[in-house]
Symmetry: C2
Subunit: 238 residues, 2 copies
Amino acid sequence: MVTWFGQRPQRVEVPRLRARGVSHPSVKVDIASLTPDLMHFLGQAAYMELGEFESLARAVATAPNLAAKEGLSAAAGRALSKHHGLITEIRRRGAEPDEAMEPFVAALDHYRAQTQGGDWHELLLSCYLTGGLLEDFFVRLSDGLPRDIGPRIALLLGEDSGSFVLVHELQDAINANPALGSRLAMWGRRLVGDTLLLARSAMPVLDPVTSTESRSEPVFTELIAAHTRRMDGLGLTA
Amino acid sequence: MVTWFGQRPQRVEVPRLRARGVSHPSVKVDIASLTPDLMHFLGQAAYMELGEFESLARAVATAPNLAAKEGLSAAAGRALSKHHGLITEIRRRGAEPDEAMEPFVAALDHYRAQTQGGDWHELLLSCYLTGGLLEDFFVRLSDGLPRDIGPRIALLLGEDSGSFVLVHELQDAINANPALGSRLAMWGRRLVGDTLLLARSAMPVLDPVTSTESRSEPVFTELIAAHTRRMDGLGLTA
């Protein structure tokens, strides 16, 4: 059995605190040029975590057994607590949370609807993969935020999301039913595409001189590597 | 406008800490004879709070605007945190949370399905009235638990549940639409019936000598009084 738990420290969390033995792109990224302004970042990340919470809460409500329900409720609580941590930062700056999140509602609701899956296991895989990828992404971008807040945000978003219960439930189901594994592998490939497009749209618009595309490539390479490790951990082909 | 906030201290919270000027039944209730054993109490209360969380999370997901969504997410977080507080007490006693909750799943799921309402406002009223009544009920019963845990449980369950957002949304909607008020008043009367039956079933079975019915009556009188105050606060006829 693949030990997902052993792999966790390799996840792309805070770039300043990289795990030993993990290769990283040699291209130096000026992350600040890819990071949106602070309130944009906070509003978008806060609504992302609220959506992650809603998806996990739906997984709680539709869980087939009490042990899964209980584990998922803890994961939902963690997403909610990250959301409220971001809301606190928004309020601390005198802004209204709903106004800060409003610009991102349409795109994120559409994304959430597209990626919620057709059954409970697809929903779990979505929570796990898109939650992981988007948190990695916002942690990475937070490096370009002002120094009095960036590290705090990285710490908040990088906190354990309680996803071991998702991994556990998915692994058990895949082991018991190889056909489910094939279906989930396809679903995972679809999810990563949609999620990377969403992440791309979170960055500032193209700069014609040094294009955002070329500067953002190393970031996406890291995100995809972490995604591939998550898929591998489940025994799924990325 | 009725000031719900001013009324809150009158809510039946911890009987040992009664608010000034509130009349109470003169019949002395031996609450310990009505309180189930500790693990029964914890499993049932924990699953009740998990259900309250699920209902609130559904209200978050279906909220018509971001400000309501945000306020409800905080209320959902509080129900979840009470749930996890009870789970901690279950674990502290060496029991498994899912085993402790299992005996109550069928009845509470059935109750939850009956009381979830046909639209968002009915769902909000359910969260508010049934959450309030059941928390009052378990706080009251906790007085019969062992002294090393009862007061802690009363404190946990009696904590502010963030329900001001429910009251605010319901009052606004009722003021804007009197027909909704009539419909919600009927819905509230149905909810209290179902909820009192559920509460009754949480007590030990009838004792033929001094029947549970007569001993539990003062408790139900208090619960109904608090329910009536909630309805009044919304301008609804209980």
